[in-house]
Symmetry: C2
Subunit: 220 residues, 2 copies
DNA sequence: ACGTTGTCCTAACGGTATTAGGCTAGCCTT
DNA sequence: AAGGCTAGCCTAATACCGTTAGGACAACGT
């Protein structure tokens, strides 16, 4: 044991972590350029100035790289959702849902490859590990929690036969449906004038209208 | 020119078409087993009892195979939707939408690889050709047409600021959102007890509730 | 000073898509 | 009937891919 603030073990661990991070970052770049399933370890190694087999010092195989990215994606996503949550701690339900939905959509557009990896299954043979799935469920639970809170605060009611959890899942499904169709069909059109992007606010109105007992006052 | 009912040109053309179909069918099988992006021409050739380069007599490259499957998928899908349409020519709006949504979901489950190819973009570098996109838009237009008819017949109203086309797109988005999340998260759970599959009917109720001016009579 | 260990390398294996070029059997024309 | 064209198959080769085996070397702990 040395008296250094950082033992050489710790230094080594840190360098190792830096290399892992660098690999993941370049892998993300390559996925963004070539498509999720088009990730090539050779290309990643090339960008790192290293030969391909060296990567196997840091990840046991390609699926492990995908798994790390999957988890990373959900961790980033959770942070983003939390940020949105705190930006609007107590607006109207409509304002809150709109903000969340827009944030979800923006995250997907700014992290297309990551989003596809997280919400679709574009890589043959890759299934997220138990631990990574736990991270993703953690995110989902957090989302569910804040959704429920907002739901109650705004005294919305789900129809008979539907749980709040199901209402939340429906919300996620609508978010993902719009997002996925936009990414698949008009990936380069800006959200505002996009066929599906322009549905985001309408979808929120739909949900609120259906779950509010009091009829809207401004119906034409 | 011969007086045969089939000229040898026609016979040859027919044999060629049979081979193309056989390739596509085996390609579909392989995709179902290995994942959409996991399609291997070598494996297809093996199953056909032929060497890989022979396939290039029938398709210029792998992307052309994907393109043919993409188009085939939408043609099948159109037939399926038409079948559903004719099975329920004039039920209530709720019954019709439920039937369409269930049919959509079932088609996706029974043709997972095809569905992924049609609605997501799992293959790096593959973008459907103009003609194939035309087929897919044709299907969408047909869907839009019957949706609009049913909408008017049942005197539903979209909220101000939303076109019927957008209402239709929202319907598609909800269908796809539920379906995609089911396929990604619980592919092997039967729809009825699946987390997302069980939302299908709830989604229809949601849409109808939001788009009907007359409040429901059976609100608890 | 010695040995261990982490990190890089080269070489190799079996897989992928794709192209080049040769063989052959069946058809069309003369 | 004979000759030539061609569709459809083949083998061989190229360049990539992920992955494993095994060796070189430098930094570290004993």
């Amino acid at each position: 044991m040395s008296s250094d603030p950082l033992t050489s073990d710790a230094i080594q661990e840190q360098r190792r972590q830096q290399m892992r991070d660098a690999i993941l970052q370049h892998a993300l770049d390559v996925m963004e350029e070539r498509g999720v399933a088009g990730l090539s370890l050779g290309e990643v190694a090339r960008r790192l100035g290293v030969k391909t087999p060296s990567l196997y010092e840091y990840f046991p195989n390609k699926k492990a790289v995908y798994d790390a990215l999957f988890r990373m994606g959900y961790e980033q996503f959770r942070l983003e959702m939390r940020r949105l949550q705190e930006a609007l701690p107590d607006g109207s339900m409509r304002a809150r849902l709109r903000s969340i939905m827009a944030g979800f959509f923006t995250f997907a557009l700014e992290n297309r490859a990551l989003y596809q990896l997280m919400f679709e299954r574009p890589v043959p043979g890759f299934v997220p590990s138990e631990e990574s799935l736990a991270v993703s469920f953690g995110m989902l639970n957090e989302s569910y929690g804040s959704f429920t809170t907002a739901f109650i605060e705004n005294s919305l009611q789900v129809p008979e036969g539907l749980s709040t959890a199901q209402a939340h899942d429906l919300f996620i499904a609508v978010e993902h449906g719009i997002t996925a169709l936009h990414l698949a069909n008009e990936p380069d059109v800006p959200p505002a004038e996009s066929r599906f992007g322009s549905l985001l606010d309408a979808a929120v109105d739909l949900l609120i209208r259906a779950w509010t007992d009091i009829p809207q006052e401004d119906i034409s």
